[in-house]
Symmetry: D2
Subunit: 345 residues, 4 copies
């Protein structure tokens, strides 16, 4: 292993976020995984838990070290833990360790809002101010110089990429409605009633009306992108597939726009963003599954606009985006190790 | 067979609409199927084509008669044919034969609008005026005395049942947005690229933005229910399940409404409608599949309201509703033969 | 409620066995559900737990009575409890109460074999001798006069119906191999790792090689049907669907048989069995789902025979068959309340 | 593009075989795709047809050249065409062009057997003798020096890898039974009745009993591996997933073998084969999907043995194996460009 490689610790390697980080990082030309934690699987081979990786790595899961200050040889730590855990762990890391946190712990600047949506006290207020929001397509320069990155939520990623060009353009008027749908892997790797296969395979339903925790991070970042004094209505639904988020975004513009105008607006905004593809008609979660792409289509009916965006919730919506952020933080091309190719079918 | 039974002809028995009509009518205590047509399967046993019915009926498919005027012994004819065919057939039926048409041919009163959305000349203008829109929950009395019923479209059914109480209440203001999703059986019984299993099973995508042919029938019937001068935005999506439509309806009210207010509004409106169930949180297509129920939940966030409705597109969205209309037209309890029980799972 | 109705208690109403018993019995013309137990849901409406039944029944779940001897007004009790519970409950019932047990507790006559496969002491030895094996198609007369029926396992049902005609014929030679596949509802209504939707939807795997607990009940009943000194190899696999068992049975005959011979053998054997349908080519779980049918096809290649059988594991493999047994025990036509019609699609 | 790269022509680029060849070859470090044909899509961008590849390649589909003899600059041609087409095309290629044919055209040495199973005259008899069977794990050295490789069928691959160690060991006795199951992508990229989503998603059925065209190629290659005078019964079934083949192989050994013996036999046989993983309990198609792995588990019950194997039908069962063969034919490490990592979930 050459000294060129980025030395990586993954906290929380047994969930789907961890699983996808490992899949990507094991094949990343500049990455060396030095530590992967999973307390309940400590001592087990990674390939015995994530059977897709059997035969591809000799890594073993370890317990998280008691004293994180010993991790000085680590270059970057990914946290793929349940909400609330990174909050108490990250302050104990040595200062030289960069951080990408996949949880919601450091996405919200206002501690009262954080408490309202996450039902937790924000105990690392000072550290919060050092965190940069990790949506590369809208925040690339800030990420490049960041030591701490809050990786966006999966719904937030699909929604923000669909809205950013219009918000930036200043053409938005009236309320914004987002009808978002997610696959079952969004519920995590642990079996639960709502992911019980006999029912889930023929289900579609809504959940958490008007209350999803991704709302404040979306509104906060939209205000960083442009003016956003608008009513924002966000609704989440469950799809009977494993992977994928699809957002249908309904908005209104101040001026009449043709379909061509809208398409140009999006193509221009994302011309330097490899991972956003502007497509005809509609994106389909089928074409982005297992990849870091966000496919977008936008249509106009005068001043009424609909924008469709599709991502893989575990890749562009989590682990792929986290590696994209690592790439930027370490001066690499943002696509390094991330040109993951989807499949047909 | 007693003379009490309603003598029925089913035109178009080989598609999914026909398949579900047969499933329901074969077990209906007042129904006798006298004729079921399917030109490409003429002479075959119904149970050889719809293998679910093997062993349950001796019926055979027949060619549609050349001269429909001979069908005087028929009491009611169901038309489950592709759009455009009922238009030329129904005028040739004897006058005593009642009609339920499951296609879009007689749903639109304005022949120009019809032509715009269906790309067909409406050649039965006079007959059109005799057709009643067959949404029992909003139009029950008219259906009872009708001889000709235009059975609502599947998306229209889910959308209208979600919107009717608010439109009737007069509380609606601003635009209405409907994000609707359908299962693959909505595309019919013939194999096609968009229902090819290897891709469809992991797909979710939007189609026909701003152009779905159910829009005019929805707007037309909303104006029959109450005032409806509102912008109406309707978007259709494809779900990777066989059965089910789920509509998420976003609207605004003139007054502040609590969740309790909204629920009361819906419960009151549907108190005499057996097939509409007001549920907690969210309906799920899983709980209405194979049944004639429409499950609805509504939530308020002040003046912003979201209404979720779920139906089986082939039952309440097509054949079940058609039989419900037949029941009303013949003075039967509307639930006769339609207390179809769903399954868990 | 007339006194003609059979008064029924269902023990274990919250699982899938209970769910399907309720679906069937609520619509059964001769049934009256007097008690349905589910300790964890005691006091809740049945329609709040099995949301498919919302609006169709006012029944509530109750705790199982402490003292079962009080249930004298009950005509028949169904037990749909985890293995091992009926064993201790049934001996406490009043003698007049007939019993259909859906668990494995009373299927095995040899208490040592029972212990080996179920890891439980058989504590109701005397009662065991009163139990009749509830496979109507092979044991109809015994069931008619039985007070205690052990309802066959789901895999056992599919396998026995595929094998019975050949075993009865005396033409069997050599070993028998059964490759059986089940849907995810076979694992029950509780979420578990092997039914976690994100993985299960794209999984197919084998489990319990050479060790499935249905083996002894199959071998025992085959010896009741005819001679069965043969090696019997039985392998279970998991399918990514909710419902359905498909068994592929490989066997050899002493004589050369044509395809026609084999088909005749099966049609003759099942000519009085409404629920067994002999089909062309292959059965498909899709055509038996939600029904009490067992579809069978058999093919010959000289002396090598393959038999395919398909059932719905929760209906013919559990609750439908249990009601079929009840019908026989009470002198009803065995199809009463069981002409459940499947759907296309 | 350096001159080191292997110049590649892909005939039949629009099907699933072609789609997967393109996915793999576009990321292969030693591959340069010089031509990809698809007559019906000629002139279209590859990324417009295989939308997973949109943004990843500028390749366009071309018509197959009239005169194949002009393709002298091509190093290797892959044929991913329907059965019967390669037969007439390959003889026209320049002699320097190596060939990997993914169809069944050159797998069967006996032209009468070929005709019986494929219903085609074998018109390239002479060329047939130059073809080597492309199952690297059993035929590696022959492939290394071959110019013409017949890529094994998908079912044949799963079956042969499950059987090879036992056949080679000489321990086999009695008949062999293979119960094989495939995902819907095995039926190809064109929509058809048996892959119509509304039905396929809840289906499982058998097809072509005793008649599958992979039988002769399996038997032929087993006789190349060792003695194989045994009865061979092979049955194919359809799974409601897009990808994956699972074979359950039932056989008998002359000697008693423990589970440990069996496992050792397989591990030893495949110790130098990166793409075969010997796993505990059972393989699962979920863990090999989109990869070139074949996972195998074997269990003993004395002399009765069951072997389970799982592959992705489109990768190890088709395009991945084809590239593995190319690697060997060009002196590359056989895993080059093929360490495709599966996903969890």
């Amino acid at each position: 292993m050459t000294t060129d490689k980025i030395k990586i610790a993954v906290f929380g390697g047994s969930g789907y976020g961890g699983s996808e980080l490992l899949r990507i990082l094991l094949a990343h030309p500049n990455a060396e995984i030095a530590l992967v934690t999973a307390n309940e699987h400590a001592g087990k081979a990674v390939g015995a838990v994530h059977k897709n990786l059997f035969g591809l790595t000799d890594l073993q899961f370890e317990r998280a070290p008691e004293d994180l200050s010993t991790l000085e040889t680590i270059d970057v730590a990914f946290f793929a833990l349940p909400h609330g855990q990174a909050l108490s762990l990250i302050p104990n890391l040595p200062e030289n360790v960069k951080v990408v946190d996949l949880s919601g712990d450091f996405r919200i600047n206002d501690k009262d809002v954080f408490k309202q949506f996450y039902k937790l006290e924000h105990t690392a207020d000072e550290l919060q101010s050092k965190f940069v929001y990790g949506l590369a397509e809208t925040n690339r320069e800030a990420i490049k110089s960041a030591n701490y990155v809050a990786n966006p939520g999966c719904f937030a990623t699909a929604t923000l990429l669909a809205l950013a060009p219009v918000v930036k353009s200043g053409l938005l008027t009236g309320k914004v409605i987002v009808d978002a749908k997610t696959g079952s892997s969004g519920s995590g790797a642990k079996a639960a009633a709502n992911t019980h296969h006999p029912q889930r395979m023929t289900s579609f339903y809504a959940y958490k009306p008007f209350q999803h925790q991704h709302v404040p991070e979306i509104e906060q970042h939209l205000r960083e992108i442009g003016e956003f004094p608008h009513d924002f209505i966000f609704m989440t639904h469950s799809l009977p597939v494993a992977r994928g988020i699809f957002a249908s975004v309904y908005l209104e513009t101040t001026n009449l726009l043709t379909n061509e105008d809208v398409k140009n607006l999006y193509e221009l905004f994302y011309k330097d963003s490899f991972f956003v593809r502007i497509v005809e008609n509609s994106p389909d979660i089928n074409w982005v599954k297992t990849t870091n792409f966000c496919d977008i289509a936008a249509h106009s009916n005068g001043k009424q606009i609909v924008v469709f965006s599709a991502i893989d919730n575990l890749v562009k919506g989590a682990s792929g985006q986290a590696v994209q952020n690592m790439n930027l933080m370490f001066g690499l091309d943002e696509t390094t190790g991330l040109r993951l190719v989807g499949t047909n079918p």
